[in-house]
């Protein structure tokens, strides 16, 4: 993390978050501060509350306790945050471009401007030529790319990604991970990336927030936040990579 980033205004601030279902608290005492372009991965075993945390950070669900602040969005027809879901969840009744335009609707853009703004991220994920296609004619990987384009189109300050590659085959997953490394260089957004794949987390993120420690009647919390500190290019081949992955694995085990 560069000093410059840490000094910039945070795009997300979460304090003492506790969350769960009904009266049951599953996750407690989560603090998170994000600056522009920071990439935070959240890992933990199934059911630890990773996806719930993501939804609480966005405000899609209310936390039991604590508060989340995402400063008001900038003026240039953008949204404070957007999200890439585990299943792409494209609207099958909209063509690819119209799906990407979803978040741009209601921002006061003209139809032509919306169209232009939708084509930019589609080009970024290499699917410009598919703009006029129906989602069902796309492969799973292509649909998830459209899901990413849809999220980037609104130029979010925070991009939430909820296990976005977990439903894909191994080859497509690896390809999209590489694409994400490229994409994050071109976006201002801070990224929160939920995954159960520790290698994926360490290979993509600046820091990895490890959730766990739950016991009968005791909710999970943040075990540790690991700063990755390895260069993005060729990170998987870096001598320290495996040791880091192992360290995180041991925390969860």
């Amino acid at each position: 993390m560069s000093a410059v980033r840490s000094e910039s205004t945070p795009v997300l601030n979460a304090r003492n978050l506790s969350l769960g279902f009904g009266r049951t608290t599953v996750l407690t005492d989560v603090d998170l501060t994000l600056h522009p372009q920071e990439f935070t991965a959240v890992v933990g075993t199934s059911g630890v509350g990773k996806s719930t945390l993501l939804r609480a950070l966005t405000g899609l669900i209310a936390p039991h306790d604590g508060e989340v602040t995402i400063p008001a969005r900038r003026a240039d027809a953008s949204r404070a945050w957007s999200m890439v879901f585990q299943a792409p969840r494209l609207f099958p009744w909209r063509r690819v471009r119209a799906n990407v335009e979803l978040g741009l609707e209601g921002l006061g853009l003209s139809r032509a401007e919306r169209r232009r703004r939708a084509m930019e991220p589609l080009a970024l994920v290499g699917l410009e030529e598919y703009a006029g296609r129906w989602p069902h004619t796309l492969s799973g990987g292509q649909q998830q790319r459209v899901g990413i384009a849809r999220a980037l189109a609104v130029r979010p300050q925070v991009l939430f990604m909820d296990e976005p590659f977990s439903a894909l085959d191994a080859i497509t997953r690896r390809r999209l991970q590489q694409e994400l490394v490229e994409l994050r260089r071109r976006t201002e957004a801070a990224i929160v990336f939920v995954t159960h794949d520790i290698e994926e987390a360490v290979s993509l993120a600046d820091r990895v927030m490890v959730l766990g420690g739950q016991d009968t009647g005791h909710p999970a919390g943040v075990i540790d936040t690991v700063e990755v500190g390895l260069p993005l290019d060729g990170r998987r081949d870096h001598p320290a990579f495996s040791a880091l992955v192992q360290r995180v694995e041991e925390m969860i085990a």
Binding site: T58, L60, R79, S82, M83, F85, A87, R89, F91, P92, W93, R94, R95, L102, G103, E105, G106, L107, W134, P135, H136, R150, V154
Partner: protein, 253 residues
Amino acid sequence: MTTLSRPRRVLYSALGVGVFLVLWELTLRSGLLPGTLVPLPSAIPGVLWLELSDGIWFEVVGSSLAHYSVGLLVGSVLGILVGVSAALLPRFDAAHAWLARLLRPIPPLAWIPFAIIWFGVTPTAAAFIISIGVFWINYFASYSAVRSVDPGYDEVARAFGQHGFLPRLAKVNLPAASPGILGGLRAGLGQGWMTVVAAELFGIPGIGQRMMEASSLLATDIVVVYMLTIAALYALLDFVFMLFQRRMLRWQP
């Protein structure tokens, strides 16, 4: 079971109709059945021509289509409106649930006495009766279609800033439920048409009334002409609607 090629299927289907007509004709000509009970099939084209050249056919079919269209329009619009509202507004749903359960089993024709009291023996009365059957079909079809919309789409809409009731209705609920709603419309098209003749039997001008007139004069050939007219018009309407439905749902795999 072996399947037939398409041309063979058509051939056998035509053969079936041909054999049926020949048997019908022979039964009457041989005197097995008296000619007063059923007309000769070979006499039908001539009678149809007479009805057409006198202009009677156009007159009765025109007036039937007129109350059919009014009944269909009113029943479909109200059915979809109430059905969609009930599916989306829990208070409204609960408030009218028992009423709907009470009124639903009453067949459209049971409303004939009230139709006459309220509207007299007029085309409006026929349109009213037709609209009742159409209403319930559309009501239930759109209610269950909207209820079964994947809530995941709603989450996507909210994640991309589409918060209001109306934007989500237009962008998620209606398009996602459109296969079910269109299915209801198509079923209503048939149900309404079946009710037309019955609604006219008590003297409202149209196909039904013409058939009653003819039967009182034992002109069974005229009755058959209009039975065939009913079948042919329904086939045409259903075909045209199917094309529309297919176009509207071209996003489906």
